[in-house]
Every structure is written in structure tokens, then in C-alpha cells.
Amino acid sequence: MSLAADIWEAFRSPLTDGWGQTLTHVRLSATALGLATGAGLALGVLCAKIGRGAAFLVITVSNLGRTVPTFALIALVLSVASLGFWPAVFGLFALGVPPILLNTYTGVREVDPGAVEASRGMGLTAGQVLGRVELPLALPLIFAGIRTSAVQIIATAALVGLVGVGGLGVIVQSGLANSQTEVLLAGAIPIAILAILAELVFGGVQRLITPKGLRLARRPAR
């Protein structure tokens, strides 16, 4: 158990500032995720309403975005802008938008046309159809997108630490640079915990808001 005690000691030491770096990490990730959710939702709904051409563009851009390594993306953004909280948030935001956008788009498009037709027939306006029928039905898929983004953003925020902005990656780097296993793990363990927490919390919310009849059938990832 002495390694566990050493890791805890390293995490709490004022030099490492484990709690402070955790807070920075969470602030970076939460800000980026919040902005990405807003933008992804808005753009996704917009694309679903505009139609096929937009869909092709969105899917192409999102797939291309997926092939740029996140490490390279974050290093590029920080070298073009400057080292700092907001440039880092921008980089994380940029990689967080595609999953939410794509899932919102798919979710809204896949809503049963019968349900939309019926609600129009009941006299709902276009805005009401979107707010009361289409978005609620698309919600499980939208949350799946937010979950993917959250995990991705937390993971990449760790790489932001390597560039020197702050966050738990800073601790990992100092452990690497000084070959101190306990410091290395004092950074790595909280990073893993944050990512797994995000996955569990968003996964739980996703299950809660999915009506029984809508439970997604298992599909292979594409």
C-alpha cells in the first residue's frame, strides 16, 4: 500500500497542486463541452431542416475531422493562437462539436415522420413540433453524442497540460520528466477517473431519458 500512499502524497503536495490542476482540468473541459453542446445542437437542427446537401457536407467534415489526431489539433491551435485558457477551450470545443452535431442531425432526421405529421395535424407550429416532438424523440441520440464529446474533451484536456496551459496533464508530464512514478500516477489516475465518471454519468442520463420503446437496437459502429 505504500505506492498508494506515495501517490496520494504526491497528489496533495503543494508543488504538484493536484486539486488545483483537477479544478483547471474540469473548468477547461466543462466550458468546452458547454459551448460544443450549444453549437452542436444548433448546427445539427439547422442541417436537419436544410436537407440533403447540408447532410453530406456535415458528415464529410465530421469524418475528416475525426482523422486529424487530437494531439496535433490541440498543438496546432495553441501554436497559432497563444498559450492560454481560451485558446485551449477553443481547441477542445472544435473537437467536441462533431459528435453532438452528427447525432443531433441523425436523431432529428430519424424521428418517425408519422409522429411529425400527427403533431402538425393537431395544430402545432413548426417551432412546437421541433421543441415538443422532434427534439424529445432525438434526445437519447443527442445525449450519446454529448457523452462521446465529454470523454473526448476530458482526454484531450490532458494533452493540453503537455503544452503547458494547465490541467492534470501537467502532473503527468512532470512525473515523466523526473521519472517519478508516484507523480506520474498522481496525474494519470485522476484523468482516468474523470473520463470514466463522465462516461458513467452521461450514460446514466442517456438511459434515464430513453423511453422503453425507443431503446436502441445494437448496431455495429460505423
Binding site: 494531439f71 489539433l73 484531450t156 515523466l176 494519470a188 473520463a195 455495429p220
Partner: protein
């Protein structure tokens, strides 16, 4: 906007080549090992609720661990070098490969399997000649996703001495006061590699499933 210094690229052409090759080896070795481990697991758990949930639960947990943390965990166990890099990349590939194999096998129509049993095929023959070929598109989709994501994750392997294009991004770029040129070079090389490998795998899939093309042509 910082400028790209072409003379740096010209001076380092050899290093860029070496690092790209290292990267390609990291990605292909780990995906190949991942396939060798995941397909048997996928076959073993298909159609069985609890084993399937256990396999996707464990590999899903591994998939959730951020790359920096994963490599940091593997470093004390495997030391510095290519080994922990490959081990980490293999662990990441498992979720996509296991899930797509199992789901692909489950989606083979029961009538087709029944017919092949009726023709006297042994269970082993049904698996090799019917199930796996029909599940191939799903399995290949998993391999493509795993490969593309491995190209990205492998850039982080530089931190544990795994080499590859991460050397350009990190050692030559980030650690030298965010020197822009090697970062762009690494980013472009990795992106191009991901796209080319993806297209190559699409080609492989078409070669392996000639019936898909035949069906499209007959129409």
C-alpha cells in the same frame, strides 16, 4: 498565423520519413494484434447476453481511459519504448473490434445458417464459410475505425518513447517553444496516413466480398 518554414521540412526529410514509417509500424502491428485477439473473443461472446455485456463492458472501460493516462499506467509495467505503445494501442482497438465482430455475427440471418446446416455443414464450416464472410462488412468497419483512431492515439506514444509522428509534434514542436513547422508536418502526415489507410481497407473489403459487387451489378 505562424509561417511554415519549408527549409526545415527539406532539412528533415529523412527524419519525417523515418517517423512516418515508425508510426505506420505502430499502427499496423497493434491493429493486427488487436484483430487476432478480438475476433476469437467476438466469436465466443456472440449471441450470449452476459458474456457479450462483460466483453464490451471491460473493453469499453479500457476505451474510455484517456491515452495519456493509459500510457502513464503502462510505463511502470513495460518501461520506456515501443512495447508499452503497442500494448496501449492494442487495448484501445479491442472494443471496436470485439463489438463489431459479435454484432456482425449476430446479424447473420438465422435462415441462412439453418440452410447451411441442412446442407450438411459442420458448425465449424458454418462459422468459417457462412457466418464470418457475412459478418465481414461489420468486422471491416470495426477494423477501419480502429485503424483510424490508432493513427491518432499513436501520436501520444512519443511520451513513453514509442517514436512515430508524435516525435515531430512533441519533441520537435511543442518542446521547442511550440515550433509550428514540425507540428503542422506531423499533423498533415498523420491525417494523410489515416485517410490512406481507411481507403486501403475499403479496397480490401471490396476484394474480400466480391458477392457484394456482383449483387450491385446484377440489378
Amino acid at each position: 498565423m505562424p509561417e511554415v518554414r519549408w527549409e526545415w521540412i527539406a532539412d528533415h526529410a529523412e527524419e519525417i520519413q523515418t517517423r512516418s514509417l515508425e508510426h505506420l509500424i505502430l499502427v499496423s502491428a497493434s491493429t493486427a494484434i488487436g484483430v487476432a485477439i478480438a475476433i476469437p473473443i467476438g466469436i465466443a461472446v456472440r449471441g450470449r447476453r452476459i458474456p457479450f455485456a462483460a466483453a464490451t463492458g471491460i473493453t469499453g472501460l479500457l476505451y474510455t481511459i484517456p491515452s495519456l493516462a493509459m500510457f502513464a499506467f503502462l510505463l511502470p509495467i513495460f518501461g520506456i519504448g515501443v512495447t508499452p505503445a503497442v500494448v496501449g494501442l492494442v487495448l484501445y482497438s479491442l472494443l471496436l473490434l470485439v463489438r463489431n465482430t459479435a454484432v456482425g455475427l449476430e446479424s447473420v440471418p438465422e435462415a441462412v445458417r439453418e440452410a447451411s446446416r441442412g446442407m450438411g455443414l459442420t458448425p465449424r464450416q458454418v462459422l468459417l464459410r457462412v457466418d464470418l464472410p457475412l459478418a465481414l462488412p461489420a468486422i471491416m468497419a470495426g477494423i477501419r475505425l480502429a485503424t483510424v483512431s490508432a493513427v491518432g492515439i499513436a501520436t501520444v506514444a512519443v511520451l513513453i518513447g514509442g517514436g512515430g509522428l508524435g516525435v515531430l509534434i512533441y519533441s520537435d514542436g511543442i518542446q521547442r517553444a511550440l515550433f509550428f513547422t514540425p507540428i503542422v508536418t506531423g499533423a498533415v502526415c498523420a491525417t494523410v496516413m489515416a485517410i490512406v489507410l481507411d481507403l486501403l481497407l475499403v479496397g480490401v473489403e471490396r476484394l474480400l466480398t466480391p458477392w457484394a459487387r456482383a449483387r450491385a451489378a446484377v440489378r
